[in-house]
Each structure stands twice: as C-alpha cells, then as structure tokens.
C-alpha cells in the first residue's frame, strides 16, 4: 500500500508539473507578441512595454520558466491585465463557489444513484426497474444546458418558486444561499445520478448472481444483509471507478451551469478572461481546474484501492 501511495503521489506531482509547463508554454506560443495581442489594436507602445514587464516577457526563456514556477510556489499567479488586481484575490472565492456546486452535486448524485441502482437491480425486470432505466435515459441524454434552461424557465418564471436572486454566500444568508443552490445542483445532479444509477444497477446484477452471494444466503443471512453487505458492497468497486470519471465530466458541466444560473464560479472568470485575452487569469484558472481534476483522480484511485483488498498485492 505504501509503495502504491508513493508512486501514485509521484504521478500526481508529475501531472501537475506537466500541466503547469503546458500552461506556461500556452501563452508563449501565441504568434506575435502576447502583450500586444492582449491589449488589442489601439494599444500604445508604452502600454505594451508596461504589459511586457508585468508578464515578465522581457527575461530569457529559461528564467521566465523558472520565474513562473518560483512565483507559483509563492502563491503569486500574476496580475489580471483587465482589473490590475492580483489573480489570487479573486480566484480562491470563485474556485470555492464552483467546488461547492460540484461537491454538493456529487454527494447527492452518488447517494441517490447508488440507492436507485440498488432498487433497480433488486427489482430487475419489474416495473420499478423499467421506470428507473427509462428515467435514466432522460438524465443521460438531455444536455446540461437544456435541463438547466428548462428548470430556470419553469421554476424561476412560469411557477416562480425559486425566483432568480442575487448571489449570497452561506455566511451572509444561509436560507437564501440554499434557495439559489437548488436549481444548479439539480441540473448538475441529473446526468451524473442517471449514470451512477445505471452503473450500480449493472454492477449489482452481476454481483447478485455471484457465487459468494449464494454462499452468503446459504449461511442464513437475511436477504437485506445479503444484498447490502455482499452484493452492493462488491458492486461499489466499479461504481467508485466510474464516479471518478463522472466527477471530471461534472467539472466540465459546471462551466455551463454557472453561466446559465449566473453562479459566480471560475467559469465566468474564465469566460471574461478568454474574451478579453487576459492571459494571467486564463493561466491561473486552467491551472487551478487541472489541479482539482488531478487531485480528484488521486482521491478516486485511493478510494477504489481502499475498497478492494485485492488491489494491494497486484
């Protein structure tokens, strides 16, 4: 296990390093002068020189590269060209908002998905199963922006139970925060929950006919325990692996959901930065999101590992 932890951590560090390097190159690979590109047509020579200085473009390539990492380690992600504020001033809040959306959706999607998957598998080929399978097709096939827009239309305008509000943090007003959290979370949960339901159902259908489930029955265990402790427990292995992948998809979908519901996460930061060619912000956001995805995969692998004792020796 220790060996696995070490190699897996080393891998994560390498991945982060690779992502950082790519982000660094990204800006330098823009044809022409990135400072000029950022400032647009009407920029004066003076402004360009200033921006070049701010983006450290005047140093040698090597010292730029090491400088990039050096500043990164000090928590300096550069200064926004647009607002002239350090990126670190806005990013943590924005990232926190986005992660809240993703994590709340994930917890609900996994809990509900595993529960529904279990119901479907134990009632295979019965009405409840058919309904769930049919329902999950909707969840999987409807794109996030369709579900989001529909929900917004119905619950914010046609039946205004959850009218659009100004964004409030949970510390300012927990109730209002919860209200504005509902629609984006439901939108995000729909697809993931459907995928996890199907995964759980398929995995459980397999484990339910496994020899060890028959053994558990032959011991005299109650059927509910046979299902929970034996069939569901082993079915969680593939579900956990799939959830890690699903989480990455979820992070991608968040960009759309944030835009639809006006959620002040990283996506609006990224959108405006891309539109305005605010390179330091783009770099910072890409780096942050990549780091989250890498960490998520690391945690996912560790969870899968912890669930399966066989993985230790392999």
């Amino acid at each position: 296990m220790r060996r696995f932890l070490l190699t897996r951590f080393a891998q994560a560090v390498l991945q982060l390093f690779a992502v950082g390097s790519i982000v660094f190159l990204l800006v330098r690979l823009i044809p022409g002068d990135p400072a000029r590109a950022a400032l647009g047509e009407g920029a004066t020579e003076e402004q360009v020189a200033q921006t070049r200085e701010a983006m450290h473009l005047n140093d040698s390539f090597v010292s730029q590269y090491f400088g990039f990492w050096g500043r990164l380690f000090q928590g300096d992600l550069g200064t926004s060209l647009l607002s002239s504020r350090p990126v670190m001033q806005d990013l943590p809040n924005r990232l926190g908002n986005s992660l809240e959306l993703v994590l709340v959706s994930l917890v609900i999607a996994v809990t509900l998905g595993v529960l529904l998957g279990r119901v479907a598998a134990t009632r295979a080929d019965k009405p409840a199963d058919h309904a769930l399978v049919a329902g999950s097709i909707f969840g999987i096939s409807l794109p996030v922006f369709v579900v989001g827009t529909l929900l917004l239309m119905v619950f914010a305008f046609l039946v205004p139970i959850l009218p659009p509000q100004r964004f409030t943090t949970p510390w300012q007003d927990p109730v209002a925060h919860l209200q504005i959290l509902i629609l984006p979370v439901v939108t995000l949960t729909a697809a993931s929950c459907a995928v996890i339901t199907r995964m759980t159902r398929a995995a459980m259908l397999e484990t339910l006919s496994a020899d060890y489930v028959r053994t558990a029955r032959s011991k005299g265990l109650a059927e509910q325990r046979v299902i929970k402790d034996h069939a569901l427990r082993t079915a969680l292995l593939p579900v956990a692996s799939a959830t890690t992948v699903e989480l990455t998809t979820l992070i991608g979908s968040t960009v759309l959901v944030e835009t639809i519901f006006g959620w002040p996460g990283v996506s609006s930061l990224l959108m405006s930065a891309v539109g305005q060619r605010d390179y330091p912000v783009i770099q910072a956001v890409v780096l942050a999101v990549a780091a989250v995805v890498i960490l998520v995969n690391l945690v996912g692998d560790l969870v899968v590992r912890a669930l399966d004792p066989r993985a230790e020796e392999a």
């Binding site: 053994t215 029955r217 032959s218 265990l221 109650a222 004792p309």
Partner: protein, 562 residues
C-alpha cells in the same frame, strides 16, 4: 474409519433429509423446461451420500433446491423434508434458521464462493452471528477455533487474511470452517474438490471424513469424480438427464453396477495403476531414431513489476521427445508444467536454455524465421470454449492456420477442413457451425482438428480434457490416441490427471516447483515412483474402486504422517 459407515451397508440409518419426487423446471424463453424430474433420495444420520452424474444431470440443481438456493426463475414440485419440516415452500425466515445452522453448504470454487472484499474471519464470524447472539470478539475467537479445527496453519494470523491471500486448499478449508460453524446436521458439498490439485483433494476429503466422524454430520457430496465417490461415500445416487437411474451402497455400485449408464460411467474413468504393481514392459515405439523436441536447461522467469524480483516458474528443465512419442508432463498447479508448454511454442519467453524442435533452436528465432518454423508445431488448449473465437464458424477456425501460413488457398483450405473434421469424427457439413452450437467434447475435437491442420511434427496439449465430463473425456482421449498412432506426431501432453497420462503417454516427466523430479517410462514411474513427491502424487489420486481406494487411502495416511 473409512469403513465406519460401509460395514453397515444395506441397513440405511434413519433419514435426516429426504427428497421425494422432486422436480425442478426452469423458465427458458417463456417455457418451462424440466431440469430435474421425480428425483428421490434420502440422507441418513451421519451418512455420506454421493450424488453423481455428468454436467447437466441435475445433481447440482437437486442439491441447491434443498436450501432454496436455485438461481433464476425455477419451479419446484415434490417434497424435501428435513426431519419433519417440509423445506419446499418454507417461509424466508424459517428457511434462514435452517440455512447454515442445521444444513450447511460447501461450494465448488472457494475463490468465487468467498467474498473477495472481506477477511475469512469476518465471513466466518458473520455466519456465527446470524444464528447466535455472540459479541464480535467472541465470534472472532470462535472463528480462530474453527480455522484450527480445519487445519489452517497460524489461525490467529490467517483469520485476518483475505481469500486471495490463501492457497486454493486453504480457501476450501476456510469455506468448510464456515460451513461447520453452526454444527450442522447435514453438510451439502457441491463438487468440493473439483477445483483443487489431487494432493490437496486428498487432504480435503480426509478433513471432511474427520468432521463427519467428530461432528456426526451427514454429508451429501455432489461430484462427477468416481474416484472421490469410491473414497468417501457410503451410498451413491447416480443421476442422468435430471433423473435418478441407480441408487446403491458404494461397494455394490462399483462391484456390480446395475444400470447401463453407471457401467459406462465407470468404464470411462482412466485408472492409474495400483501402487507397488509390477512394472509392465513398456511397448516403446521402435527404437527412438529422431528427436522431435529437445529441451535443455530451460528456465522461464516471469518479470516482476517495476523494481520487484521476478518469479522463476521453471528451473533448468531437460526434456526430450522422440519422433512419434508422447511425453506426459505432470505436476500440481503452479509446478510450471503449463509454462514449459508455453515456452516450447514461444508463448512464454525462455530466459535461459534451449528448445530445439526437429533440430532447430526456436528460442533464438524471431520474426519471419520463427513464422516460417511455426507450422512444425501446434497447440491444443485446455478450455475449448474459450480458445475458439465465438464469432468464427468452426470451419474458419480450423482453416485459419492454413490461410495464415499461406499453405493453402481458400478452396484447398475448404477441402482440408472437411478432411480434418472427418478425422476428428465430426460431420464435414458442420464447418459452418459456430462453437456455441457444439458440446464441450465436440469443441475440443475442433481444437484438435485446428492443431492438426498443418500436419505438425509436434503437438503440445495443455490439459485438453480436464474441462470435459469423464465419458466425453474417454471418447476424446480415444480419438487422440488413434490420431497419434495414425499420424505419428510427437506430443507433449500436459495433465494433472495421472490416469489420463498413463493411458496416453509413453514417457512421463514429473514436475515440482519448476524442477524435474522424476522422468522415465510412464508405467514404470507411475507404478513404482522413486521420489517422495511422485509417490504422494500417485497415492493422492483416488481410484474408482472402494476396496482399492481404501488401501490407497491407508498408504496416503502413512505417507502424510511420515
């Protein structure tokens, strides 16, 4: 001990479990298809009853019905009584009280029958705690006691092992520990030793016998192995196609089988020679002229994962097979016999030594030269179901070596396929059929036909009949022998079954942990083994004859005690 139940043959003890006119139907594509029809038998107190038959005979379904463990949509009729309780149609809660506590089960493959994510201690404790109010610590102590009872070394440590950390034999012992945790009156053992090596099988059967003696439990053992039946059973129930065809005390069944099917079943079992028998002069094929296969100092090491030590499966093995000779390679699982076969055909890389086929060292060949040489030898695999492409017709599978090696065009290959199918006694019109339309034995005939397509000088057969029923095995072996006589190919025949090797091989080589421990003419080695290991291997193989088996069992015990 062996004779405890047997001396009272005829006077059946009071029945604990009685199955009467049991019928089980399965719903297949909307129609009820019978799997078991009007089966009746009883198991008396402390008795060992064997339910024998080939695959599809309904023996497993009958035994699973006892505890209501038949999977899928099944319909039961008739009666299964345990003492005075009718088990068919018993409510879930009441049935749960019987399961594990009064009637326990042992399954065939302990690797899949134990849950891979829980330690064996937890699984045993779970069995205890669903019937008794015991603390977790108390259940753990009991689990350790049970593991001690079934002979698992270091039970205090093993109790925390996961199934994959144990050997096959230890896993089955853990399974048995779980089964006896509630002191059941009846133990149903469904092919408990089929997945194990003969030497381990002998130990497990000895354990079951001891438990029967100590706990007084009755045992219903389901098996297809007449050797196992002769070894442990008091009474035998023979099933065929869902019906009981014969029931008799073990002595009478083997001495005077009444039903024609029982006679056929007994005749089909290959029998190793009795221990200490006079070596029979071996009818050697005319003085060996050419050597087809010469393996010298072969070593195979499987590389370890990054930075870890590799595993050496074969240590310096020398073998020779003369033209037209059959060499039987025997040993327990993990002894490296399959690896040698794979190294000879180039599926595993030899790390040292040489493999000469017809005078050419094939270990040094690669690419085009190896391809040019490949038609000289071919392989028959263990599981014909898995080694034939399910999406290819059997004709395509057989023709593949011809087309790949460009030894024949489409039309010529077609003609050759027909010829080959006839050689393996299948109708030539079957070329268009697919593997799933064939029985296991027929599929293995196709496997042989494919291996013979290029008229190889050397055939490597890796346990070609171990997945087959005895009667099917007998016909496949007969066919194989005839083909070998007629076509005169040399053969490396890998098997764990000494009876099969004795039947086919001229020479035999015994492997232990990747090393050759004994080598010589087959009859001589098997009748008068020189090394301890071979002696144990021969003694552990049960023979389908209760009297002789009792004698073998006595010898085995002496050897085990020594």
């Amino acid at each position: 001990m062996t004779g405890a139940g047997r001396e009272k043959e005829g006077a059946a003890p009071e029945p604990v479990l009685s199955v009467e006119r049991l019928s089980v139907d399965f719903r297949v594509a909307g129609e009820w298809t019978p799997a078991v029809r009007d089966v009746s038998f009883t198991v008396g107190r402390g008795e060992v009853v064997a339910l024998v038959g080939e695959s599809g005979s309904g023996k497993s379904v009958s035994s699973m019905s006892v505890l209501g463990l038949v999977a899928g949509s099944a319909r039961h009729r008739g009666s299964i009584r345990f003492h005075d309780t009718e088990l068919l149609g018993l409510g879930h809660e009441a049935l749960r009280g019987v399961r594990g506590k009064r009637i326990a089960m042992i399954f065939q493959e302990p690797m899949t029958a134990l849950n891979p994510v829980y330690t064996i201690g937890k699984q045993i404790a779970e069995a205890i705690r669903c019937h008794e109010k015991v603390s977790a610590a108390g259940a753990r102590t009991r689990a350790i006691e049970l593991l001690t009872k079934v002979g698992i070394p270091e039970p205090e440590r093993r109790v925390d092992s996961y199934p994959h950390q144990l050997s096959g034999g230890q896993r089955q012992r853990a399974m048995i520990a779980m089964a006896i945790s509630g002191n059941p009156e009846v133990i149903i053992a469904d092919e408990p030793t089929t997945a194990l090596d003969v030497t381990v099988q002998a130990e497990i059967l000895e354990l079951l016998r001891g438990l029967r003696r100590d706990l007084g439990s009755a045992v219903l053992i389901i098996t297809h192995d007449m050797g196992v039946v002769a070894d442990v059973a008091d009474r035998v129930v023979v099933m065929k196609e869902g019906e009981v065809v014969e029931e008799a005390p073990v002595g009478r069944l083997f001495a005077a089988p009444e039903h024609e099917y029982t006679r056929r079943l007994l005749a089909a079992v290959p029998k190793p020679p009795p221990p200490g028998a006079e070596p029979v002069a071996e009818p050697k094929p005319e003085a060996p002229k050419d050597t087809t296969l010469r393996v010298r100092g072969l070593e195979v090491e499987y590389p370890g994962r990054l930075g870890r030590k590799g595993f050496k499966a074969v240590h310096g093995v020398d073998l020779t097979i003369g033209k037209g000779e059959v060499l039987g390679l025997v040993g327990e699982s993990g002894s490296g016999k399959s690896t040698i076969g794979r190294a000879v055909v180039g599926l595993a890389r030899a790390t040292a030594g040489s493999v000469e086929v017809c005078g050419t060292d094939v270990t040094g060949l690669s690419g085009r030269r190896l391809r040019a040489f490949r038609p000289t030898y071919s392989m028959v695999f263990q599981d014909p179901g898995a080694s034939l492409n399910p999406r290819w017709s059997i004709g395509d599978s057989i023709a593949a070596p011809l087309l790949v090696n460009r030894t024949a065009g489409r039309a010529a290959a077609h003609a050759r396929v027909a010829e080959l199918l006839e050689q393996v006694e299948l109708p030539a019109q079957w070329a268009g059929r697919f593997p799933h339309e064939l029985s296991g034995g027929q599929r293995q005939r196709v496997g042989i036909a494919r291996a013979l397509a290029l008229e190889p000088e050397l055939l490597i057969a890796d346990e070609p009949t171990s997945a087959l029923d005895v009667s099917v095995q007998a016909t496949v072996l007969r066919l194989f022998r005839e083909l070998q006589d007629r076509l005169g190919f040399a053969c490396l025949f890998i098997s764990h079954d000494l009876g099969v090797v004795e039947l086919l091989a001229h020479e035999v080589a015994v492997l232990q942990n990747g090393r050759l421990v004994e080598h010589g003419p087959a009859r001589e080695v098997l009748a008068n083994p020189r090394t301890e290991y071979t002696k144990r291997l021969v003694a552990a193989a049960p023979v389908p004859d209760p009297v002789e088996q009792a004698e073998r069992r006595r010898l085995w015990r002496e050897m085990a005690a020594a």
